[in-house]
Symmetry: C2
Subunit: 305 residues, 2 copies
Amino acid sequence: MRILVTGADGFLGRGLVAALAAGRIPFERLVLTDRLLGSAVPDGAEAIAGDLADPMFLETLLEPEFDLVFHLASVPGSLAEREQDLGHHTNLLAPLALARGVAARRPGARFVFASSIAVYGDLGAAPVTAQTPTSPLLTYGAHKLMTEVLLSDMTRRGVLSALSLRFPGIVARPVRDSGHGSAFMSQIFHAIADGREYECPVPAHSTCWWMSRQAAVATLLHAAELPASGQTVVQPPVLYASLREVADAVSRVTGRPALLRWGKDEILRRTFGAMPPLNADPARALKFQADADLETLARAALSGD
Amino acid sequence: MRILVTGADGFLGRGLVAALAAGRIPFERLVLTDRLLGSAVPDGAEAIAGDLADPMFLETLLEPEFDLVFHLASVPGSLAEREQDLGHHTNLLAPLALARGVAARRPGARFVFASSIAVYGDLGAAPVTAQTPTSPLLTYGAHKLMTEVLLSDMTRRGVLSALSLRFPGIVARPVRDSGHGSAFMSQIFHAIADGREYECPVPAHSTCWWMSRQAAVATLLHAAELPASGQTVVQPPVLYASLREVADAVSRVTGRPALLRWGKDEILRRTFGAMPPLNADPARALKFQADADLETLARAALSGD
């Protein structure tokens, strides 16, 4: 098995690389790529930095004819909204070029794409499924949706075997991570664990979808090994809870009080904090799993794994 | 008003250009473009041939900073399915480059995009609306859908004012037109009018959505002049009828019998001849109109206009 991980130096990428390096999927070659590679490269893996939308770099990168690609690289939503050319390049042109390049060299390769719940946009109150109509409110979500459409079409034609996973904001990202409008979802974990006060920009009753990095990595690995099912877009199961419920769980797990003040940013609330419930039965039928409960989520989010 | 028409030498483009040249929308400049331009250029219009995905050509083409763009250029579905690189270039990269180029030079320009009902893919029996879930069965439809998503996002950001119109197969295309899997929809008009026998690849009870070129041109012009409504994807009204009903209407209008034999091509039937009814109320509310009835359609389709 020859495996490629893009965005290998990102938050999700580092978690996936650790699991792969630990032997979670046996590999003949494991190649890591990112715009910049700052993390240590595990034994047995190879690392090469570059721009996926650069045809010369792609030619070099794809020489091993990968059987399995995890495409995690992207510019986060808020940053992509401000820097439209960067977003277009990294979140649209790069995945299109990568997917076509992989398919040309190794037709039928498994291509696991980290898509996003940003594809949905304004959701009503009805439970969400992968069939819920999409109407992205951010260019980031539009680009993810366009990539999903391309990957589904390539899978229909048999040139790739792609799975697009619609991830929520993964917690808890490092405090220094920026560019994510959903950063508050991670900050509440760190603030409570550190005994810090934190001014959360949205109200306590805001409802979000929650997933730890461990659950996200397990989702990626499961997608890599899943037999082709005809389902190319998967809405993985998540935990559904308000910020207050999550803050309470973090307090219980850490034994520290939540020193949080709640804000009223309506745009952020509407974009990230007004999620309806999720019907993830189709994904559960394929054996995808969420974190077991909020305390498990809190422990996982704070473990650093 | 500075107007650009791409695909100006195609079937729909020639009809639109005739209406514009006749003064249907007053213009200061009317620029026509296509890969090749074989038709006569009307008085007052300018024509320039080239490849929209070529940045150098686009730079020259967009110099007038257009207020209104009709983007009709595309490679038809069957051809794009066989020639994937050509389809990717013309049906995906070209509209992306054009839309971004237009927006960069004239933010807020009206951009009317000829999308396609191929975005839907396998439809059930329930009436279709623009909210019906999309699952394209052809790369052509996937590229149209991806372009719609980009245009909706650009409209949300205010950099364009785009409308994507989901057209059915337009009738009656010239007999020589190739590359369209739905060619049979046009051939039955010509065969009956010419008194020719014709072997239709799908059964007589196949149901299609019908629109004459006159109705399609009226739809494009209406979209150009419509105030921004927040609706960026429009499913225009069409006539809903079986092939047999349409053949009967053509016979009544021409006074000639239909010398048709019906085939059983299941792929073509599923792709083009298994359409459910359409609920076009949202488009009707915006004053879009279908052909008045099947005999009006037959007369229009055979008029050559």
